[in-house]
Symmetry: C2
Subunit: 533 residues, 2 copies
């Protein structure tokens, strides 16, 4: 899968480059050097929503992370887009651009280093099969869609420090993801559990706080982005978490505002051109005691200004919901275990955000002593179904291991999944994909239908923990229409036809006069689906 084509320039000489990243290996940091030694004199075509990279070689002196500014202006398809670049070590600077439209684009770099001032052009071709573009929010709506219009049904997971583990461990994690239902993974830039990569900034001594926030280690970020590339090849969104409250020993999330700004701009320039990147400003932002809401607001504005690709932006809470209506937030990212216990509790979060809602943390499937990590597979799956019928989305995580330690679990380090929810989430994902695009909503949530769907087209009733033997099937609409009715066992992953129901008008709804009820198996975790025929 072609991800990137690069244009490499050294000094004033255009070397050009079109190094395709075929199957990038997260085990090495060769990506940069491969690109830096690319041969093509003129850049070849780049896919729409792929990545064009300009490589600029300048002097390796002073502290380019702080001292050098570089950016490119791209012009094409009637648009002019300014794209900030970044320093990648050894005198190499890069500018990465993911073209939003096909056609020829001309570019010109500017810098406070004359050697980095260059110009060129690139042909942007139609995307190959499988490249649907970045995920976006349906305008004014509560669901997601790829840039090419394909629906995106979020089934997320979290593995905080997976990308910072050894190459072998990362291969194991990627292998697990490749057969999982998950199409988004929340992942920290700064580690929260033991990891192989621990030093985004240059060390100045042996103590935990002996590091220099004005000097980055490019290899740390190069390694992290190689994991983003691998996720892209798997069609998985990388929900990149910029700050977190758990590394109080190192204190990477406790930098000054100036250092934070430089870091945010760096990751925006470095990672933002990957079309599978989402930004999560922080995990449990309100657990970071060195920053105020004003600080977060400011950093969001810095990020927004530094990210010409306008990737999705949110922030994850501990106790205090961030105001998801703020203009720089594209969707709400909520931590709440209780909200996912009822579809309408989930739904009301949409009323607040007026944007899509993802319950990125609803506690985890596991066996640890902490209450947030001991859900059964049934409970984890139940929360996904509740958020689904609330017109929202959910996130998985697993803290299940023989030692009952969250740090070495999937949640902390990745590896393998050993729980029972993932296959059920794959089943749910198929139910979503078989349903209406871009998604479903709670229908008439102020009244007592407790039904999700899309009016006339599709209805879904989920019974959760209750185990009824029948249901008086009154839909909020649909009279005069016929529906294929299916009994879905969300845990045993079976779909059983109940035949076609012909709905007639009843007070405030529709019901089949011949079959006013639907027979149910009397077990838990059952849903009933009405699909218009």
């Amino acid at each position: 899968m072609e991800i990137t084509r690069r244009t490499v320039l050294t000094g004033a000489a255009v070397l050009g480059a079109a190094a395709a990243i075929g199957a990038p290996n997260p085990a090495n940091a060769s990506t940069r050097s491969a690109a830096a030694t690319g041969q093509a004199a003129n850049p070849k075509a780049v896919e729409r929503w792929g990545m064009h990279e300009i490589v600029l070689n300048g002097p390796d002196k002073g502290n380019p992370y702080v001292d050098v500014t570089v950016a490119a202006v791209y012009e094409g398809a009637g648009q002019t887009i300014t794209v900030p670049g970044f320093y990648d070590g050894d005198g190499t600077f890069r500018v990465r651009f993911s073209p939003p439209q096909s056609g020829q684009w001309r570019w010109r770099t500017d810098s406070n280093l004359p050697a980095l001032r260059q110009a060129g052009k690139v042909d942007v071709i139609e995307p190959a099969s499988g490249n649907h573009g970045p995920v976006q929010v349906v305008p004014g709506g509560y669901h997601f869609v790829y840039a090419d219009g394909s629906p995106y049904r979020q089934i997320g997971t979290t593995s905080y420090s997976w990308a910072l583990q050894s190459d072998e461990k990362c291969e194991l994690t990627l292998n697990t993801l490749s057969t999982s239902p998950f199409n988004k993974i929340r992942m920290l830039v700064f580690p929260n559990v033991p990891a192989e990569a621990t030093d985004p900034f240059v060390r100045t001594g042996t103590g935990p706080r002996d590091w220099d926030p004005t000097r980055i280690d490019p290899a740390y970020f190069r390694r992290y982005e190689s994991r983003i590339e691998r996720l892209l090849a798997l069609g998985i969104q990388a929900d990149v978490v910029l700050f977190q409250p758990y590394d109080t020993a190192r204190g990477y999330s406790d930098m000054t505002r100036t250092d934070d700004e430089r870091y945010v701009k760096y990751v925006a320039a470095r990672f933002g051109a990957y079309r599978n990147v989402w930004w999560s400003m922080a995990n449990e932002y309100d657990g970071i005691k060195t920053k105020t809401v004003d600080d977060w607001d400011h950093l969001f504005q810095v990020l927004q200004a530094a990210d010409p690709h306008n990737r999705l932006r949110s922030v994850h809470n501990k106790n205090i919901y961030y105001d998801a209506r703020k203009p720089w937030i594209t969707h709400a990212s909520i931590q709440s275990a209780g909200a996912a216990l009822d579809g309408l509790r989930a739904h009301f979060h949409r009323q607040f955000a007026l944007k899509p809602v993802i319950f990125d943390e609803v506690a985890y499937e596991g066996n640890i002593s902490e209450r947030w990590g001991q859900l059964s597979g049934e409970q984890m799956t139940h929360r996904f179904w509740n958020t689904f019928v609330g017109g929202t989305y959910c996130g998985h995580g697993e803290t299940l291991n023989p030692e009952q330690k969250p740090s070495i679990s999937w949640l902390g380090q990745g590896g393998t999944l050993n729980g029972t929810s993932a296959p059920r989430l794959a089943f749910l994902k198929q139910i979503m994909e078989d349903g209406p695009a871009p998604g479903i909503n709670a229908l008439q949530p102020d009244w007592d239908y407790d039904i999700a769907g899309v009016d006339s087209q599709y209805y879904l009733r989920y019974f959760g923990e209750s185990a009824p033997t029948q249901w008086e099937a009154i839909l909020p609409s649909g009279s005069g229409l016929s529906y294929q009715v299916d009994i879905i066992d969300t845990w045993n992953m079976t779909i059983t036809s109940a035949g076609v129901y012909n709905m007639a008008k009843v007070p405030r709804g529709a019901q089949d006069p011949a079959r006013p009820t639907v027979a149910l198996p009397g077990t838990q975790w059952i849903a009933v689906r009405f699909t218009r025929v």
Copy 2:
């Protein structure tokens, strides 16, 4: 009950006034003329949180509503407060001030009419018994408290156009309120149903739109405020609704921005000094198609600037929640029937607002054909209990009458209450008053206790529609402590002692090892209360 003392001045001559409004009669408009003819040469004392009124007589020419500016600067208790005045017709201007502190206050008026420039002083004495000051939000919290620290437990009702009915009908409504549990009533300034008072602005013809937004009828507002005074005497908060979407024939809520600003400033100056006034910017604000959210934001800022008394401010929605985190909002005023069906659904609205939440409309007890007006008494009461255990507040209304017409119901015009919920809401109010101040909260809402209260001190579990015969009483805290346990039948209004429970530590909570369960009657609408002894 002494509400007001007035200082009356004509031209440059200080007549002074100290007309106490004893038992004001809403049947006449004599309040103003009584004050204007007050005799005291020097103003007597005014209670703290009472009202001092300066009456200024100037020329009755031109259009003073538009042309004349008048305001007083009050200085006392180390504070300087600028209080806008208003025109009351017949050449009379008034400035109304409710002093926040006792002691001597000096005042000086300024105006673009030289005749209205005066000065004086007033002694502010301690409040009489029953005067607790205005209701305020507990700082940083989710509950309300009077200015003197007394708890205020909101049990609201709505009667949109009661204040605009005949004097006889208003007496009937006030008589009903006097024996009801309600301590807040939502009431429109502009009528939404047939009323005796229909013309806040001067008529210019016989068509519905034949009125002049630049010319008010002071008598309309004088009549309305006489109802506010009567509510004050009953200890009831007047939730004054400034705009509403239902009078599309007259279109009072469809004025221009300039006319809206003048109207908002007028009611702020005229009504704001009554300590029982709350501002609701609109009913179903998003139903008013001639205004945008920007317009509402603007009008809130106009109101805030025009109201030195800083009365509580909110706005009521139809479908789209207004963002209650905006700084001019003091509490959320929510319309949602579905949110009041579950305590935690209600609770999450606090997470959104970070302020107190009142579900001012959750559908109404009644017998009309519209779905929003056909709750049973049980359903109305149930919604109050749900919002209570969610740490929030609720609003009542009644659409119950032989003709099944909302317009002539309590909701539309006031009168008598014929439903069955009000006595149960009085019972609930007593439960609230017997509980901790300023209020209770959902405890550990992310976990599965489903218990409200205040840690260690007080716990309340409400079973709603379910009818269990016993409950495994595990509290989220309280081990080592003893509690009086009561079984509360919220519908039959009985409290039955279950004796004292001695709680010991169990995993993640507290339970009485001798009595791990509480026996319940197996009927609906039961609550269990644990009060620390």
